[in-house]
Amino acid sequence: MTEGARQSVEGGAVLRFAPHAKFRFDAVRQAWIVLAPERLLLPDEQAVEILQLIDGERAVDGVIDELVRRYEAPREMIAGDVVKMLQDLVDKKVLRR
């Protein structure tokens, strides 16, 4: 398979938006949106916060650390949700390593 296998989201993975995925604020709807090929995602408040931490430098562990700090919540709880969401977006090719 030329395009390689599935990318899995681990703590050390540094993720970025795929070149043709656009994460931006939509002035008409006054909401953050993700545009991808023939797809539109409307992330909720928590998802927006996670996506704003995806900067192509911070590893997934760093994203989780930051959210733990902000919410003062147990790490395992946050980590599970974050990894699940990021893996889904990697599988949809919105994010990549």
Binding site: E3, R6, R29, L35, P37, E38, D91, K93
Partner: protein, 374 residues
């Protein structure tokens, strides 16, 4: 009525001209001539109005959008006004130079159609010799240009048995996404229904094939697949509801809630020359007609799914019952369900020849084709 939300996407049918003649083409039976097409300035104005209205994505479609010589200029303008641009193409006229121009103009994604994994069958369905070879070449160009690629495969009785091979083809071509679309029976496809409707056994095998492939290809290729109406229990939420999510502008500038809406009689669809997209979206009677739930008859009106499937498809209701305001016969609760179920028997008869799409008032059977392997 409560505030109308802005549309998400615009299907811009730039032309009805196309090198292919697929017998399930979604274009209307009365195809527009080149001389009737909106000019460059009008399309640019439409894209500006769409972005201002809240449209986020534009699908450059047709017919074959590459036959428009101003396509690059249109893509550039759509990018400038902030629209995310998808090209929906047969790939037949795509070359590296043209694609480079389009990428520089801001095109984000290409959706390429395939008629079959078998080249001879694919050429026969498309009505053009050499088409499937040209498409494979086009897919390579898209990947080389660094654009994401969606392979679109319209499936039906005459190619559904090769769905596994179609999936393998899409993976081999480097597609990020495969859209497996069952034929929708209006217009050309309704004329060819007896040649296209799959059997129950074919459908069950195809569904199993998709499920297995999805598991195997997770993270490699996304597969979009929707069960066809003729074997479904509940209707699809056509277009996400009438006048809720999508706008379609035809080559001649008519504004529709979906690409098949011109098959409905008794509705007056305004053109982009007559009013702005915003005025049409918010106030045109044709858009208000089936928006929301107020128009619904029973069994939809009291159905708990009325805001999930929005009564199904108006064009299908009209095509089968002659009344666009009835429940979609795809729903098992529809009193007209028998009209749709009865047609399934056709799938057990020998398939008639295709009636290929063409610019002509009276379509005729086409004799000049390679014969079917089936």
């Amino acid at each position: 009525m409560s505030a109308v939300e802005p549309p998400l996407a615009l299907l811009a049918e730039l032309t009805h001209r196309c090198p292919l003649r697929c017998p399930y083409c979604s274009n209307p039976l009365e195809l527009s001539r080149a001389s009737a097409e909106l000019d460059t300035a009008s399309w640019k104005r439409v894209f500006g109005e769409a972005a201002a209205l809240g449209v986020l994505q534009v699908h450059f479609s047709g017919g074959e959008p590459l036959v428009r010589r101003d396509l690059t200029e249109l893509v550039r303008h759509a990018t400038e006004v902030g629209l995310y641009g998808n090209l929906i193409t047969s790939g037949i006229h795509l070359d590296a130079g043209r694609l480079k121009e389009l990428v520089e103009a801001g095109l984000e994604h290409v959706q390429l159609s395939f008629q079959d994994a078998d080249m001879i069958s694919g050429d026969r369905i498309a009505g053009l010799a050499g088409s499937q070879q040209a498409k494979r070449r086009a897919a390579g160009l898209v990947r080389e240009a660094g654009l994401p690629l969606t392979v679109n495969a319209v499936v039906h009785r005459q190619n559904l048995d090769r769905l596994g091979e179609i999936i393998d083809l899409a993976v081999a071509l480097g597609a990020d996404r495969l859209e497996v679309a069952h034929v929708q029976y209006y217009g050309w496809a309704l004329r060819n229904r007896a040649a296209l409707l799959p059997t129950r056994d074919q459908l069950d095998a195809a569904t199993a094939t998709v499920e297995a492939a999805r598991a195997r290809l997770a993270g490699v290729m996304v597969i979009d697949y929707v069960l066809p109406d003729y074997y479904a229990h509940r209707p699809k939420a056509c277009m996400g509801g009438w006048g809720r999510r999508f706008l379609n502008v035809t080559p001649a500038g008519k504004v529709l809630p979906c690409h098949a809406a011109e098959t409905l009689t008794g509705l007056d669809f305004p053109t982009v020359e007559e009013a702005s997209l915003s005025e049409i979206w918010h106030r045109a009677p044709a858009f208000e007609r089936f928006r929301g739930t107020d128009w619904m008859p029973e069994p939809c009106r009291s159905c708990e799914r009325r805001e999930i499937d929005w009564g199904g498809c108006r064009c299908q209701a009209f095509a089968l019952t002659g009344d666009a305001a009835r429940a979609d016969p795809a729903c098992a609760l529809s009193p007209d369900r028998g009209l749709l179920v009865g047609a399934r028997a056709d799938a057990d008869e020998a398939a008639p020849d295709f009636i290929y799409r063409q610019h002509s008032a009276v379509p005729r059977r086409s004799p000049d084709l390679v014969s079917s392997s089936a």
